[in-house]
């Protein structure tokens, strides 16, 4: 199976129906993408597929052949944090941090599409992502901050 992940071509020896989440975590050791539910209901496993935030737990690897997959590990470039990552730190938009990679992926996708989202657009775009520590207001704030940083 040929994949393109974080700009690198990867060839994986896994069955076509393997969830992308497992391929990333087990075969490529990209463990920044998390398991939270396995049914597309929590957003912990979000990755960008051709720029669209996609729950990797319910996406078979065969679906992303010849498409561009970006994981949290591919968000910062050459060790330089992305504006959204900086803003998450600045606004302390995390407690345990387990939801954070998925949140950042969804936020990056949103800002790429809509650089100046309103508060309700942010909430709507982020609705699929769960933070059980419930620091939602700080995450909204971080996205607003990142939007100004860009």
């Amino acid at each position: 199976m040929e994949l393109k992940v974080n700009g690198k071509n990867q060839s994986l020896d896994v069955p076509a129906h393997t969830p992308l989440l497992q391929a990333l975590r087990e075969s490529l050791q990209l463990t920044g993408t998390k398991y939270g539910c396995g049914e597309g209901a929590c957003g912990a496993c979000m990755v960008l597929v051709d720029g669209t935030p996609t729950p990797s737990c319910i996406t078979p690897v065969s679906n992303v052949r010849n498409r561009e997959v970006i994981t949290i590990e591919g968000i910062s470039v050459n060790g330089k944090l992305h504006a959204v990552q900086k803003a998450f730190l600045a606004e302390e938009a995390l407690q345990c941090g387990y939801c954070t990679p998925g949140m950042i992926i969804s936020a990056v996708a949103l800002l790429n599409k809509n650089p100046e989202p309103t508060e309700s657009q942010i909430k709507e775009a982020m609705q699929r992502n769960v933070c059980r520590c419930c620091v939602y207001p700080y995450i909204v704030k971080a996205i607003q901050t990142a939007s100004k940083m860009k």
Partner: protein
């Protein structure tokens, strides 16, 4: 007359409090310590230092005596100047890795980033009962500060001696001692060279007053924050070891089901798959998760079911099986007589459903047998408790069990037990290779323990001037924490009755305090309404504690309690004192008469937990508590029938999400004159009653049930 402390108020959720007390690990010896660390200067303090401040009333006392001589934490300054703090406390998102480092940096006068925190490693850190009960900030932090200050004084004195000058002429700053006369300076590392000194903590050492804090008391960002935003942080569930296998377990289809027959032939025929059977415990291992899952799926199991209570009958069940106590007590009779004689009587009951912690990182463990040493990495709030569980399970001595706890994807009181650790270790032993086991979300929602369901009955009365007369309060099964009323009354009879829970139950953030506060604050509200009094003034009149009254007033003022309401809206408020913290919450709800829907518009929380160590992280804890509390207030509950959990997934168990957020405001009352209390629990307690009272205000409907907004419960 004040009722005596009822002796049946235990914390049924905190079985860990009385289960493991007798088997504490041997204190770290000085020799062992320096063997581990190399030279330097260290300070250590014991459990009795930490715990002597606790109210010596509960079960803790027994454990305290036994633990008296064991070391509670170490602080070590290495010859190379590196500062290391060793504590058995663990990080589950409450940011104590940062706040404890801040406390040390403040007193040791060094850069907070030069401090390494080693947390929750049973080989390296001293014994700790566990990270729960909001104990870290009030008990651990002050002792660490004393240890740090004692070391700083030691460095000041040795530098002064070296320079043959008075200690008045030296000053600690940035990890060095400066000679204020000559301008020379020497680093702590240099001063530690060639030593293996264990320095006692001077209990009397003078600490900086909170108003002089520079590092502590300020919002420095999460120390290892960058690891989290880049996905670099390795949680237990992310770990791998060479040759590691993935494990999956065969779970019963229902509570109380017994395995009667297993046909594993198909699974065993799969390449790379091993089936492990130890009594009723059945698991499979394979080199990758998908294969392990297919193998699990290929198992053919027959089960024998037993009769199990369902959700629809849970409250009758709990009451029927409850322990009866205090029926003959004088306090009961006094409360009853007073109730009969009072002018205004109110009697109602409250139903609390089971809820799940649902930490986003499910329970996970990685186990490896290395010769006769068992290595386990697991996300737990009690690494030493897990070590004890493993000791019992495998009958090997604790010295041979190393449990490590990577910073974990939260717990909320849900990760106190070592289930995943034991399961992974069994599989690893049987497979002869390291095994990682990560629970599925469904397993989390089914086989982890729940916050207890409970029935609460309250009977109370006031006189014509609105003063509480009698107060009778019975909690069946949900727990005794926070059961004491803060309101003055003439006769008080308060009891917790343990019962027989059909589902596995255990600790949850703030234990039973949210449930007890829900019942109490609803009852208080309804008394005020009955008397046509303002619920705020009614409370202020019947409360004694000035700090509690103060947060109530602050919350009400910030909220605009007296402001006029829009149409179809209601205001509600509630307050609570628990674990050294004072909380008050106001809620505004909007009622849509057409579809009968209620929406929470605004929440205001005021919290006083003494001195504030890190304002931003404190606010974050309060925020997390209040919003998580919104979930069990409105829609979280576990549904079950005949021993089966019916909603074991995020698509069927609703938790708060972005669009559920009301407008929220938090006021932190900084009391630099009061010791800091923990903050990860108490702010969760008042959300539910504040909303319930606001709904009552808007609709005249009393919803005496958690969750409130699920119809047909």
């Amino acid at each position: 007359m004040k009722d005596q402390e009822p002796n049946d108020i235990l914390y049924p959720e905190q079985y860990e409090l009385y289960e493991n007390g007798q088997s504490l690990i041997k204190p770290h010896t000085r020799r062992r310590f320096f063997t581990l660390l190399g030279g330097g200067v260290a300070a250590a303090f014991t459990f009795s230092d930490v715990l002597s401040r606790e109210v010596l009333s509960s079960l803790d006392l027994q454990e305290l005596r036994e633990a008296e001589d064991s070391i509670a934490a170490w602080l070590h300054v290495h010859e190379d100047g590196k500062v290391t703090v060793y504590t058995g406390k663990v990080e589950v998102g409450q940011n104590i890795r940062t706040s404890l480092a801040q406390a040390v940096a403040e007193e040791l006068e060094c850069d907070v980033h030069s401090i390494e925190m080693i947390m929750g490693d049973t080989f390296l850190t001293p014994y700790d009962r566990g990270t729960f009960g909001s104990r870290t900030t009030p008990y651990m932090a002050p002792q660490l500060r004393k240890a740090a200050a004692s070391l700083r004084v030691y460095f000041e004195q040795s530098a002064a001696k070296q320079w043959k000058t008075d200690v008045k002429n030296v000053k600690a700053q940035k990890g060095s001692i400066l000679n204020t006369r000559s301008g020379r300076s020497v680093s702590y590392g240099r001063l530690s060279e060639g030593r293996k000194l264990l320095h006692p903590v001077n209990e009397e050492v003078s600490l900086k007053s909170a108003s002089d804090w520079k590092v502590a008391g300020s919002s420095i960002p999460k120390i290892n924050g960058e690891d989290f935003v880049t996905g670099r942080h390795i949680y237990t569930s992310d770990m791998t070891l060479p040759d590691m296998l993935h494990g999956k377990l065969l779970r019963p289809p229902a509570y109380g089901a017994r395995l009667v027959n297993l046909d594993a032939r198909r699974a065993e025929a799969m390449s790379g798959v091993q089936v492990h059977r130890i009594g009723d415990f059945v698991g499979v291992t394979a080199a990758d998760i998908s294969t392990a899952e297919s193998a699990l799926f290929a198992l053919r199991a027959e089960w024998e079911f037993t009769q199990q209570p369902s959700r629809s009958e849970i409250f009758q069940h709990l009451k029927k099986h409850a322990s009866v106590s205090g029926e003959e007590d004088a306090s009961k009779k006094a409360a009853e007589t007073m109730f009969q004689q009072s002018a205004n009587k109110l009697e109602q009951s409250f139903e609390i459903h089971y809820i799940a912690h649902a930490p986003l990182e499910p329970r996970a463990a990685l186990a490896q047998w290395d010769g006769d040493i068992l290595n386990v990495w697991t996300g737990t709030q009690r690494p030493f408790g897990v070590q004890e569980e493993l000791e019992r399970e495998f009958n090997i001595s604790k010295e041979k069990i190393r449990v490590r706890m990577p910073d974990t994807g939260s717990g909320y009181g849900g990760k106190h037990t070592g289930d995943a650790a034991i399961e992974a270790a069994r599989l690893a032993k049987s497979a002869g290779k390291p095994v990682k086991l990560v629970w599925t979300r469904e397993e989390e929602f089914t086989w982890a323990y729940f916050r207890p369901a409970g029935l609460i009955e309250v009977r109370s009365s006031t006189d014509t001037t609105g003063h509480l007369q009698s107060w009778e309060f019975h909690n069946y099964n949900s727990g005794g924490a926070g059961i004491r009323s803060m309101y003055r009354s003439k006769a008080d009879h308060t009891r917790f009755h343990s019962s027989n829970s059909p589902l596995r139950q255990g600790s949850y953030r703030a234990l039973a305090t949210p449930a007890n506060t829900f019942a109490r604050e609803s009852q208080i509200n309804d008394h005020a309404i009955l008397l046509k009094e303002d619920p705020l003034s009614f409370r202020l009149k019947n409360l004694e504690d000035p700090r509690l009254k103060h947060v109530l007033q602050v919350a009400a003022d910030t909220f605009g309690w007296k402001s006029s309401k829009k149409e179809n809206t209601g205001y509600g408020l509630a307050c609570c004192f628990d674990k050294g913290g004072y909380m008050a919450t106001c809620a505004e709800v909007q009622y849509n008469a057409e579809n009968k829907e209620v929406k929470v518009i605004k929440l205001v929380g005021a919290f006083d937990c003494g001195t504030i160590v890190n304002p931003k992280h404190l606010e974050s804890q309060i925020m997390g508590c209040m919003l998580q509390g919104l979930g069990f207030s409105l829609y979280e509950y576990i549904d079950f029938r005949d021993g089966k959990i019916l909603n074991p997934s995020f698509s069927h168990y609703k938790i708060p999400r972005f669009q559920d957020m009301p407008d929220i405001k938090i006021v932190m009352v900084d009391r630099k004159d009061e010791p800091a209390a923990g903050a990860g629990e108490t702010p969760i307690t008042c959300v539910a009653p504040a909303i319930r009272n606001a709904i009552f205000d808007a609709t005249k409907e009393k919803i005496n049930r958690l969750p409130m907004l699920v119809k047909g419960l």
